[in-house]
């Protein structure tokens, strides 16, 4: 019985700093979230190892609410501050990926066509 109590006390002593760390981190992220303006683009990393991009739509003392940036709309994610590892601001691209591909292909085609034209023209000098 004595051993069990000893183990329990040691476990509590070891866990206490971790808990304190978690609480301090949570407070830090709460302060950070409060400073982020609504609908700001962010990348949130979680203690589970997962991360996702989204828009901060609200924060209070208990949770951070993030609208995930997905193709098909998903429900808001409500995150406890203790689950947050990092919150990074993200710049939003004005173009969607498909537009970027189209522009890239267009530029590549124009360059190749231009080189071919130059080669053709130089052949007649």
């Amino acid at each position: 019985m004595g051993k069990v109590i000893l183990v329990a006390v040691l476990s509590a002593l070891l866990a206490a700093p971790l808990h304190a760390q978690s609480v301090r981190d949570g407070e830090a992220w709460r302060a950070c979230a409060a400073s982020v303006e609504p609908n700001a683009g962010t990348k949130v990393r979680l203690t589970s190892g997962k991360s996702f991009r989204g828009y901060v739509v609200g924060a209070d003392d208990h949770e951070l609410r993030v609208n995930p940036k997905t193709r098909v709309a998903e429900p808001l994610r409500r995150l406890a501050y203790s689950d947050v590892v990092s919150i990074e601001r993200q710049k939003e691209s004005k173009w969607n990926p498909a537009t970027k591909v189209l522009v890239g292909v267009g530029v590549a085609w124009a360059v190749l066509y231009g080189i071919a034209l130059l080669a053709y023209a130089s052949g007649y000098d």
Partner: protein, 213 residues
């Protein structure tokens, strides 16, 4: 008993509703059309290569089995390719005897593939794919009877009108990406390479539009 059944059904509905609300409804099918260039002529193993890429059109349909795995089928259509075959042959006292034969080639293929799509519910999904292309390659070789003269020796090449259709199977692998404009409409860019009995057969580079439904 009826009351119990009703209660169970209601309980199931109540339990199911929040769970289903958490998951977005992703479309199970996609379809598209694309334009591409075929490099290499491994689909026509018995003919000479001219080296230039040939245009090809894909009409395709895909069925998602989960958020990552998909079955793809496609019809591949090509233009009729017209050209000449230059053939040399041995004749007594005629060094370098030759003839020209016209050919019209056309290829129609179907393909089936399994595709793994990376990421979930994002605006861009890279993918890898592998499968089989089965092509019907038609070849029409023809010429009129012609008379040539080399070193004052005259020879006649007989008329030819030969049609053949080869069914060719080519395994292929592909990499590419689906890049979305919005929730459902996308551009698909893909590079695929196929192999035949003698190694590399052909490659296709293509770009097309599609929609999830």
């Amino acid at each position: 008993m009826n009351g119990l059944t009703l209660g169970l059904v209601l309980a199931a509905m109540v339990a199911a509703s929040p769970a289903s609300a958490q998951q977005p409804e992703l479309k199970k099918w996609d379809a598209g059309a694309s334009f591409g260039l075929v490099f290499g002529d491994g689909w026509y193993p018995a003919t000479d290569s001219y080296g230039e890429p040939q245009p090809a059109y894909h009409l395709e349909l895909g069925r998602f089995w989960n958020t990552h795995l998909k079955t793809d089928t496609a019809i591949i259509l090509t233009h009729r390719h017209e050209g000449y075959d230059y053939t040399t042959f041995a004749l007594p006292n005629v060094p370098g005897a030759y003839s020209f034969t016209r050919h019209d080639r056309q290829l129609t293929a179907v393909s089936g593939a399994m595709t793994y799509q990376f990421f979930e519910n994002q605006m861009m999904h890279p993918f890898v794919s592998g499968g089989l292309q089965v092509a019907a390659a038609t070849n029409h070789r023809y010429r009129d009877a012609e008379t040539y003269t080399i070193n004052r020796v005259t020879y006649t090449v007989p008329k030819l009108d030969q049609r053949s259709t080869d069914v060719v199977v080519r395994p292929f692998v592909a990499v590419g990406a689906k890049s979305y404009f919005n929730e459902r409409t996308f551009i698909k860019s893909e590079f695929s390479a196929a192999v035949g009995g003698g190694g590399f057969s052909h490659a296709i580079l293509r770009l097309g539009f599609g929609v999830d439904f």
